[in-house]
Amino acid sequence: MNNTALELIQGAFPGAACEAVIDSVVITVQPAEVEKTLSRLKNEPSLDFGLLLDVTAIDYLDYPTKQEARFCVVYTLRSWAKNLVVQVRIPVADPEVGIPTATHLWESANWGERETFDQYGIHFQGHPDLRRILNHWQFEGHPLRKDYVIDHRQVCYESDSLEKEIKARLALKGVDDATMKDINTEIMFLNIGPAHPATHGAIRILTALDGETVVANVNEIGYLHRGFEKTAEQRTYNQVIPLTDRLNYCSSMMNNVAYAKAVESWLGIEITDRAKFMRVILSEFYRALDHLVCLAALFVDMGGLTNYWYLYNEKESAYDLISRLTGARLTSSFTRIGGMYRDFYEGWETDLENQLQAIEKGVQDSLGLVAKNRIVHDRSQGICVLPGDRALQYGFTGPNLRASGVEFDLRKDSPYYNYDAFDFSVPVGSNGDLYDRIMVRFEEIFQSISIVRQAMKMIPKGPVNVADNQVCLPPKAEVYDNIEGLASHFKLVFEGVQTPAGEWYDSFEAANGELGFHFVSDGSGQPYKCKVRPPCFYTMGGFHEMVEGEMIADAVINLSSINIIGGELDR
């Protein structure tokens, strides 16, 4: 597959340097060529890279091998129909001058480039709204640059009024003071959040209201930004796993799995069959739990509190199982590079089956209240619609994209961990409204439960860790009785898993969408760079388009329907 992809890209861009890395093709172009290359990648029917997954940059200041420029911007693109991933690398000679923006091609470039500007200080020429996004607006310096010292703390006090931004958005909508005067009214500005029951965390949704209708909306995120990527650069690969718990904390295990899978894919490790099945079982179990939380919160926002209990009670009781398995309720940290922390405990099948049945019952109870409820239908059908092409523009993935009618699921389109062996279907919505997003999640819960049951029947016996002392800790007997075992244990703990130098991107279908990891390795046991492609960061980037023209009550439900999780959004 990779060779055909490489040939395709090489054929389209004969002058550029192309190479295949794992599942993706990396193409390096000079800043002058960027606009042409990107627009061809997007618009040429034979290429059709409609989904801009992520924008990031790499700072080669401390990199052992000399690169052609200190900075390099990377656009990660996906052609969902053809199942191709392309990374476009652009060396940036001068960050102040920067490179041309891609916002006219993909809406998702807007937030992606803002983040790159914020973290690396790279200018994007022609970007409509280039300002900080994750860090505070008063923050000085660019934290992901290698010369930014990690413990250099800054205290920022002033909140951002966002007045300029919301006025610009209003002007874009054709609302200015003159029209307001004509109809003898005033726009009311209302901050929903950062501390508001509907934000389920801390997001600031600034709305300009006409009555209760949202005319314009600007969002401020970053309240939970804790520098995941900067911290990851200071730790060995295994030490990053506890940090990944805190990304999407509603499905912490999926982040663990996605992270471990990404590292293993570069190491070229084939994990044991049992570990694969464990990861599938736990991922799908967590997918169901994640959707339970999302739907529970959504119905609270809609005013149907009873649904919350029917759904969340099961999530809560699942924690018993999870704590028995992992030792923690929320922060599972259950994977290791090359396998799992440990095998299932004895009797897990019964516990898991009971829990699955309880989830099914809870979901059925809730559906009984919701499925034929006219109030729910009125509140969700045709509300906050985002058609498929716009969803792709904004870089939506996962259930939100599928609700908009795009049948893209990495488990089907680019199967990993034997997903092609399971019998499951991918629910797809038709309108991209709230109702579709709700129902897609309900159906995915049932599909995930079915996958878990199939995998429970198929799971083989055997070890859960690869028998490679360079990757996985050797058994304790070897460590205590054998100098080689002791040495590998020591090296693994102190230096981490040694990865060959290079760069790669690997993706995983998490509960919220495509969770990708972009790594740069300098050959040591610590990631030189670890960039997360969080699905809900880009979903949030499209929030304003969904809610403008709708009412406050809809905006609030919409926020829960796209399942924004602060930990993953702000990192």
């Binding site: 029951p197 005013g303 509190l305 649904n307 109030i375 509140r379 009550a553």
Partner: protein, 428 residues
Amino acid sequence: MTSLDILLIIVRVAFGAFVPLCFVAVCVWMERRGAAFFQDRSGPNRANIMGFRAGGLIQNLADAVKLFFKEDIIPGHIKHKFYFVLAPMIVCVTALVSFAVVPFADTLVLGDREYVMQAIPMDIGILWFLAIAGFAVYGIILAGWSSHNKYGVLGGLRSAAQVISYEIPMGLAIISLLVVYGTVNLSEMAQFQGQLLFGFIPMWGVLLQPLGVIIFIIAAFAEANRTPFDLAEGESEIVAGYHVEYSGMKFTIFFMGEYVAMFTSSAIIVTLYFGGYQIPWFNTATLLKFAVPVALLVMAAVPVIGKFVAAWIRKNNVSHYDRENDPRVREANVYIKIVWGLVILVEAIFFLYLVFASGGAADHILVALLQVCTFLAKTTFMCFVYVWVRWTLPRFRYDQLQKLGWNILLPLSLLNIFVTSAIVVALS
């Protein structure tokens, strides 16, 4: 004015004032335990006095104490402090006062004097309710406006729009009811419902006005600002709407006002459509005629009910895990003793009545007491329906609520008036 007159005035006013207030505790308890029941959880069952939890009622007491001792805060940005303080009072007082016209028993005849069993014996009845209940929204609007808070203003606006769109169908539903009953006096309406249709069906409003009752109940829910019509609060959207800036006792008064309003509108629904204080098939005359057999029946029934209640307490008031000397069992033992004590008390009263006082004034008082119990039982059940609906349905959106009011309920209630009048004219 005899001392009996004065006594009865005191009794009636006390009933009108304290029963709704006492029912705040009952309604809050029912809300919490009811919600827990619907949501597969336990609800409040920890707060206790000397180990006695009274099924969670002590929680209300604890909350009340907490709210009493909270600092009385008026945020500094509030300019109109008077209105800010006034608003919760309007909400609570209007709810309380609108109960004053609800008859809780048939006219009591003692000797040659008749006493209308309402806190304020008035003929205008339902008009009083409409006028006063409509006034409650001023409290909400005032609270929203004087809070000087955008969420508050939105809540107040929503409430204003909601009340306007639902007062009209409510009023129209009442008009068709007036056509049927031919009176605005609530006592007379309740008396009307003591008759029998075709000689065997109680002539309750719900049977005479099946469409009207639906319209009225929907409108009453909207007036009481409860889910699915709790837009003015809209917890998840506009935080708490009109009472976002209120805390401590001022919030408590809003909170109490909401439950008093719920109780009052339950009482009104019961009076208008569910026979008021009437016991089906036993109107006042029948009861008076068969006072002694009825008393015997009650005497027979009370121990049976006591037995069931005791068994229910025994079954449910236990710890759900193994516990030595389960304190909950000890607690249950006391409750069961209290239940049997009450049974014995009731039996003794009836016994004394049968031996010494049957016939004459005591019959009238007995009937009135039975009717008060019936009325309270019906109203409690209606309150439960409020709770039931609240924990079943999500909330409407602002514009959908208006659509329901104006596009559906209004034409339906007009149609109802037309059909009702046509039938009444045809029958007369």
